[in-house]
């Protein structure tokens, strides 16, 4: 089975309730996201912005292999990609943060992840991750909505499809989760 077919099939399996499919999908998506981030840098190295959304979309096209999927499939994919993207960014931020704390100049060997110039500092990514974790403790669904919005740049419709919500619900959940996260991040201290 070709990789793209495999991903498409796994996505279908997962949406139809096969939880094991996620265990196979996640590492594939994670690997592809990392690789693409790296390649993008080699080819397109200059001062333009390559956004989260663009990267996730490209990864999707590469992995799923077809361009006109149903919104539901895309949504499912984005849910996974958001997790993977969060993983990549948090991992990256931790490295940077640790290096900074220990007063070490960030080495090139941290590449390719270290090449992502995150919006905001390592500490704010870590702060966001912390706040998401707290939210997930008492409202996992809203945390998932927020994760998709933040880390895969999904539209509200994609979120709704992926998580089985109405569009109105998805919109409101995001609005509420956003207010919560904004508050937590603004009051959350960071270690200096």
């Amino acid at each position: 089975m070709s990789p793209s077919k495999e991903v498409a099939q796994l996505l279908i399996d997962w949406s139809s309730g096969d939880k094991c499919a996620l265990d196979e999908l996640f590492p594939m998506v994670l690997g592809e996201l990392r690789r693409r981030a790296h390649n993008a840098l080699r080819r397109e190295r200059s001062n333009h912005t390559l956004q989260t959304t663009a990267l996730v979309h490209e990864t999707y096209i590469k992995l799923a292999g077809y361009k006109n999927p149903s919104c539901r499939e895309r949504g499912h994919f984005f849910a996974i990609a958001a997790k993977a993207m969060r993983f990549v960014l948090v991992e990256h931020a931790r490295k940077l943060h640790r290096a900074k704390r220990d007063g070490i100049k960030v080495q090139l060997e941290l590449a390719p992840v270290a090449q992502l110039q995150t919006n905001g500092s390592a500490r704010s990514i870590l702060g966001l991750d912390e706040a998401l974790k707290t939210l997930a403790r008492f409202d996992p669904l809203k945390a998932q909505v927020a994760e998709m919005k933040l880390f895969s740049g999904s539209s509200n419709r994609e979120v709704a499809e992926a998580l089985g919500l109405s569009l109105n619900q998805a919109t409101r959940y995001w609005q509420f989760a956003r207010a919560y996260l904004a508050r937590e991040i603004r009051k959350r201290p960071y270690e200096i």
């Binding site: 912005t49 663009a54 960014l89 090139l108 060997e109 207010a179 919560y180 904004a182 009051k187």
Partner: protein
Amino acid sequence: MKSETWNKVEEIFWAAFGLKRSERAEFLDQACCNDSLLRHEVESLLANADTRVSIIDAPLFETTGEFDLEGKTLDHYRIISCIGSGGMGEVYLAHDERLGRKVALKTLPPIIAQDESHIRRMQKEARAAAALNHPNIVTIYDIGQEDWLPFIAMEFIQGETLRQRMGSPMPIHEVISISIQVASGLAAAHHAGILHRDIKPENIMIDVSGDVKILDFGVAQLKDPLVPLFDSQFTTIAVDRATQASIVAGTPGYISPEQALGEPLDVRTDIFSLGVLLFEMATGCRPFAGETRTEILQNLLNNELQPFTTFRKNVPPDLQRIIAKALRKNRDERYQSVTEMLSELNEFSRETGEEMDATQRANRMFRQYLSIYAVDKRALVPLTKLYFVSRHSDTDRGERGRELLWKSLRWGLIKAGSSMLLILLITTVAAGILSVNETWEETILNDGHTRAVRQVAFSPDSRLLVSVGEDAKVIVWDFAQRTRLATFVDHTRLVTSVDFSPDGKLFATASEDKTVIVWDTGRLEKVAVLSQFTGRVIAVAFSPDGKLLGTTTQESPEYNGHVTLWKVGEWNKVSEMAVRTAEYGTLTFSPNGHQLISSAGNAWDLTTGRAIQSLAANWMAISPDGKQMLAIDGGGDVRAFDLIHHRSTDYPRAHQDSGRAVAFSPDGGFAATGADDIILWDVTSMTKLARFEASTIVWNLAFSPDGRWLVSTHGDSSILLWDVADRKLAGALNGHGGAVRGVAFSPDGKLIASASEDRSVILWNAESGRKLAVLQGPTHRLTGVAFSSNSDNVASSQFREAISIWNIAEAQLRSSVSLSSGAYCVAISPDNNWIAASNHVYDSRDGRAIIDFEHAFGAAGAAQMYGVAFSPNGRWLAGAAIQGFVGLLDTRTWAVRDVVKVPDTSFISVSFSPDNKQLVTGEDEGNVRLWSIEPLRQIGILGRHTSRIKSVAFSPNRNEVASAGDDNTIRLWDINNPGVSRQIGTHTKPVLSVAYSPDGRQIVSGEHDHSVRLYTRHRSLWGYRLN
């Protein structure tokens, strides 16, 4: 939060969200029915529903930046390491494989290579620049392209950039020397028809011999044509076209007005940039600065050059004139060629030098003299003012002052006219006072050994630890209290080894002074001195039954020596064996006492007296059950030796450095080996459980008899404690074992307290530097420390959970205040009634929170103080908020007196002036801001650090401010002379905290490298010490 509460919060949130803002309050009154917590929760969410938080509302990342070229080869250049990066690309140190020389290789954006015309243009520029052969221009060797990546190979210069050199205003003679060299290079380039277009400190290199080289000729121009390329190339990727389109070649802050306006450029553009460079070197500030790009450009285009005195008072008028002329906005009013400017710079340089007409010289000298010391006219007459300026004069000024004074005197004698007499009088008085010099002596507070610690031994009850070292000292520590009980200096040379008798009543120390001293543990006295040795004693050990003492000596340079057994109590020789020895090593009895093993490779069966098979290594240890021996050698290999079956297993290259230490835990479950790092092993499986990094080599390792701690001794004189269960650094015996985040002097000046990430507060005697007590017990890393006004108590804040208040006399925890979140700072009010931390002010008697900053400063959004300070009269509390505002609270009413928000920064530290009238703050952006408090408003910026400031402090006489930060500096600022700072101390890591002694003579600092440093101010007049 409970889920029902959360649901309720959400429900009310949505109900209120639909309402007009004006109607919300009333609705919430009803809906929350006096549940203030619920109401606060909903209100804070509503308040944040529309606030923009960049981490949420902007794309999470963008890709730019570098990638890994190290070890790769571009064309025939092998990349060694990255040595810098700039706007266009990175600079690497590379090896030219063809010509066998080192080169600097600058990579350019790959996008350049995608257009033929760009490549041609780049080549043309680079070729022209390569043709420039001038000592002040970096030589270009080659331009090339590998695959997709274009690069320029050029002369590798060992040195620093002007940016790295600058920091604060530079001495005038250095400014002149550098600018003359830059101007010479530019003149040569202009002559050849090449503009630089991007003169800035990053593009000027100063090599190790002080020669100046200009980098990157012609490269700036390559930036222009990039803009339109973005459109065609990256259609799928979001590009902020508005920003891209506004890019101008050059660097904001250094470009000329015509460059900003996108007009055609000529040589006068480089002249302008050179003017900016000179201005910055001379004053430490840029002439047209601003927070944002737009602001800088607006300043550049619209605002007149500020008088030099705004920035620095002692810029000579002639130099001011030269700089001002280069900085004219209208290029017709500038120098029309660099040569013209160069000749004026040369003239100025000569004038400040030797050859001049006599009269002119005397006059000029006087003028110059005044300009160096006091451009300010006030300073001419009132001597108090002069003195005031002088106390902050730096060495450079002092020396020049003396020099000029003598010159004036000589000329005064020749031409003793009345005017000269007056000049002479003033200069004499002024110079006499003005050449008061200030130096700061640095001492690292480190209570223990002063050189490498060779070995440690625990008393069997874990109560005491004895350490011996290369400083010839034997130190007895109270291990639980982590304090020094006694130091013996009876040995006259390096002490190599120490061991406790099994009953703990005695301990023996061996030294290269050819003696072994036996000590009584209870009385801490000498019991016996064994001195019948003919060589250095390198190891000492008690037998398990306590009846014998073994020693190893090294008697000749060929490593011949003896292992000797002594009868304990009578101290006579029982037996002696000739052996080969080493520089250092172990002598070990097996736990049953039957075998004796020397690490140099000899072993004996003591029951038969016969030699048995053994191995040689640097260091070895036998497991408590006697079945296994671990050895480590000079290659870092670890070897496990089965003593029952005489088999060995190797763990090659376990360490990267020469191994020096091995130890077993008391239960035999763990072992530790040390080289330049420490490995903790699981003995049964011989797997590595943890690796501890140490800053210097490990000399010795020992587990405490209770198995809780692993102690390591190091080449830098430190003795570190590792928590075996947590596998973390837990502290140090000589000082701190973690970054020191808080320091404070007690108000009576007798004590210094330091709070560290090692979770302890150390109280030091400020006079002797001795460690008086280690306050232990906090569960999290400490962030700050403060004394009560009567010097009885000390409070420490920590990252989470609680503030601890300690009684100093008893060195005991008195009380603690529990926190809902972390505290990053702590302050005690002068009347000792209040304790302020990051989120609240607490009543010190019952620990009750009396004010919540988030409520108090609600209007300003969230409020998390990273610095708090009470005014000395107790009237005010100032807070430095990470959310970018400074707040002032009235301590009588706890009402907010004033809040000032500053965009785009985070405040980290605040300090009150001794007269209660001013504040100084430190922040993320590196600015040291001075504030008045009535009303709260910024007076000015004293100066800048190049990165985040961690701590600021006002001197007790209110004339000076100390600041410390992530740029590894402590800077002292004269509040009457903004922009000028001097740095004190030698730091290689960030400085986290600073405090003045009450008499202002000393400064203490807490550092990231775990040290606490004390600086003492010395003043001298004409070489004589004043204090």
